[in-house]
Amino acid sequence: MTTRIAPAPAPDVSPIVSMDMITKTFPGVKALDQVKLDLFPGQVTALVGENGAGKSTTVKILTGIYQPNGGTIRIDGDPVVLATPDDASQAGITAIHQETVLFDELSVAENIYIGHAPRTRLGLIDKARMHQDASALLTEIGAPFSSHTQLRDLGIANKHLVAIARALSVDARVVIMDEPTAALSHKEIEELYELVETLKSQGKAILFISHKFDEIFRIADRYTVFRDGAFVADGQISDIAENDLVKMMVGRSVEQIFPQTNHEIGEEVLKVVGYAHPTEFADINFTLNKGEILGFYGLVGAGRSEFMQALFGITKPSKGVCRINGNIEVIRSPADAVANGIVYVPEDRGKQGAIIGLPIFQNITLPSLDKTSRKGFLKLAEEFKLAREYSQRLDLRAASLDQDVGNLSGGNQQKVVIAKWLATQPQVIILDEPTKGIDIGSKAAVHEFMAELAAQGLSVIMVSSEIPEVIGMSDRVIVMRDGRIAAEVEGDDMTPETLVRHAAGITTPTEGAAA
């Protein structure tokens, strides 16, 4: 199954695209710092790096969506400016972006061809030819739906296939794939690999971004490593061992990141019995104990967030009860959940977590206003006192407490969201992908803090898709797959291999299933 597909061509060809000294800053973040990247014809270059290393930013610069603050991009040795997405496709660069950037209201064919549809002689869109071409593309990538389907009727995996088809609809020399397999099933992934092989044989340069080391070692010819927005190394895949690649990526060995967990696990705090939802999840049963860190692992889209949000009173479960400290409680709204000591730090920080537009202190006190006010009237001094206390506890870095939370870096925003919930003095804190998109320093702080909370007797549920994090932090792990609990593992059973196996629904152990 993991036979290497083709030998790496000789590295003496000159690159089609080469980025040199590229820098990109966002307010408060240096996403890329003088990085370099070369893409060679007929070769697959894997770009690896942790979350937030700047991979997607690189993609957006190459596709004309972002403008770099400095550095040069060369195509066939000539410096170019890619001012718009159009410029990029003119230059022969096409990409499958990490987020699906498609249009629900349009048909599959229109999604594939928007912006460059075939025209009739009158200059109108040639629908017949568009659908014909689209069908051909869909067949080529093995998509099981018609070009006439409306996009909204497709699931996430099929949408991703549309995105792939869209990238291939441009006659490009450079194809970029930003985590293309994250949402695909096994069969589709195999077809994608074949496609990569075809593109390679056509002499195209491919940039392949992935966190899955097995696939990197299977299809890539070269690698480039970024860390914290900086270039670390590049070279031939055949010249490097997996462990070394990981080390370059993280800058230290993986075990070191996680704090020692020396907390005591007490009696049962929360018991969930038979939670179900008509379309999202079913048969969820588990218990959570005092001072415990319970990990929820699964592939993206496994339904973990949906379930957590039901537990928090946002989506309504159709069945199931929840017992808190031995009493059955009905949670119909987040307000009920908070009253019962359950709080939720959501995955989508910008939309669901921080209230961008409100100052930091108001974000922190929002769910605890009852405590800082008298008879419904605000008491600013009390608010500042509370905000000060928790921002210090979380080591928040900010200019002042009345600063808009939107001006903070992602990690500090996350701290504000956590502070907001800690200020309510909860019993159970649910952290959904708590370290997604935050820098390594903050990540360690969050991990350390999580351990500290558990040590203080708080029960923590941590949803994470990062295996090292799950294993490093959790006392116990529940694996979810397709809306159901696939397994519960504890102690020495918590190996990367078991987790991946349960998450992917593979019954027989496979080799090289995880990094």
Partner: protein
């Protein structure tokens, strides 16, 4: 499947048919072809404006200045006609469309370049355009006998049994049908409204598309301005006062989502026709005209409640996929 039979349009068309049948049970003459042609002719301005508004709403904007734009253009062409009675109609038409487009461009620029919310921009330009009519006309009317015969005759001129006014609506419908389905601009409009973030990734300039949507809406308002003034053979400050809300109402009834991205030419046209039928039927079926407002208000509420039900996004279904693969 839902693509083959556009549900909303079918239901709206059925509602209009039922309405026509009800009316004809009270007054049989209403569904005589000649009368239906009259109703269509009377609804033509609303149809044209609703199509322009549709484009704007699809891009997540709103144009409250269309009626004022119409009135200002109408006054200007009427005054031009008084000053230069010999000016041929095609020139008048060109002036009207151009002037309307310029006013639309003013809205568009403010939305595009200064990112002022469209509702604020067009609320402001609405009052400004009306005020300008007063300033240029000194509040005076331009009456039918001051207009040249050719000027007032144009919208009534019959071609193949239908007045030019009706043809203007029909041609606009056809052009919009082609534009929305078969041109890059038309598809961009859906893309910008449906998912502005993704539109940027696709190389579509959101602001520029909104700008052009305003220009289109303005140009149509200008065209309608001339047609309106010549048809009713009078121009004054207040013509088509409050018409902007009727235009928005037609779009809403036609299933165009105020949140952008969802809607169709057929919907907008049917929405306008629905209102036109109601408006024309009330006087003939002896329902007091005082019922008209309440009826159109209820129609809007029912339509929007209905559209939101049928259009509710299904969400992704995690469990189904589980069942399918097992």
């Amino acid at each position: 499947m839902s693509r083959l039979i556009p549900v909303r349009e079918t239901i709206l068309a059925a509602a209009i048919l039922v309405l026509l049948l009800l009316i004809s049970s009270r007054f049989a003459g209403f569904i005589a072809p000649s009368n239906l042609a009259n109703v269509f002719n009377d609804t033509a301005p609303l149809i044209i404006l609703a199509l322009g508004q549709m484009v704007v709403i699809l891009t997540r904007c709103i144009d409250l200045s269309v009626a004022a734009n119409l009135a200002l253009t109408g006054m200007v062409v009427a005054m031009i006609n008084v000053a230069m009675p010999g000016l041929p109609i095609p020139v008048i038409l060109a002036v009207a469309v151009l002037l309307g487009a310029v006013m639309g461009a003013v809205n568009g620029i403010l939305v595009w370049k200064l990112s002022i919310p469209p509702i604020v921009v067009t609320l402001g330009t609405m009052t400004i355009f009306r005020g300008i009519i007063f300033l240029i006309s000194d509040g005076k009317w331009v009456n039918s006998h001051e207009m040249s015969p050719a000027f007032t005759a144009f919208p009534r001129m019959e071609l193949l049994g239908l007045p030019v006014l009706s043809w203007a609506a029909i041609i606009t419908i056809i052009l919009f049908g082609i534009m929305m389905a078969r041109t890059q601009f038309g598809r961009s409009i859906f893309a910008v409204g449906g998912n502005p973030h993704a539109a940027v990734y696709t190389g579509i300039d959101v602001g520029r598309t909104q700008f052009w949507a305003f220009v289109v809406s303005g140009a149509l308002a200008g065209l309608t301005g001339y047609l309106w003034v010549s048809r009713f053979a009078v121009a004054y400050v207040d013509i088509a006062g409050g018409f902007e809300l009727e235009v928005v109402a037609a779009c809403v009834i036609g299933g165009i989502s105020i949140a952008g991205g969802i809607g169709s030419v057929g919907g907008a046209v049917l929405g306008a026709i629905f209102l036109g039928v109601v408006k024309n039927a009330l006087p003939v079926v002896n329902i007091s005209p005082f019922w008209q407002l309440a009826i159109s208000g209820s129609a809007i509420l029912i339509a929007v409640a209905f559209n939101s039900r049928s259009g509710r996004t299904k969400g992704r279904i995690i469990l189904k996929s589980a069942e399918a693969t097992q």
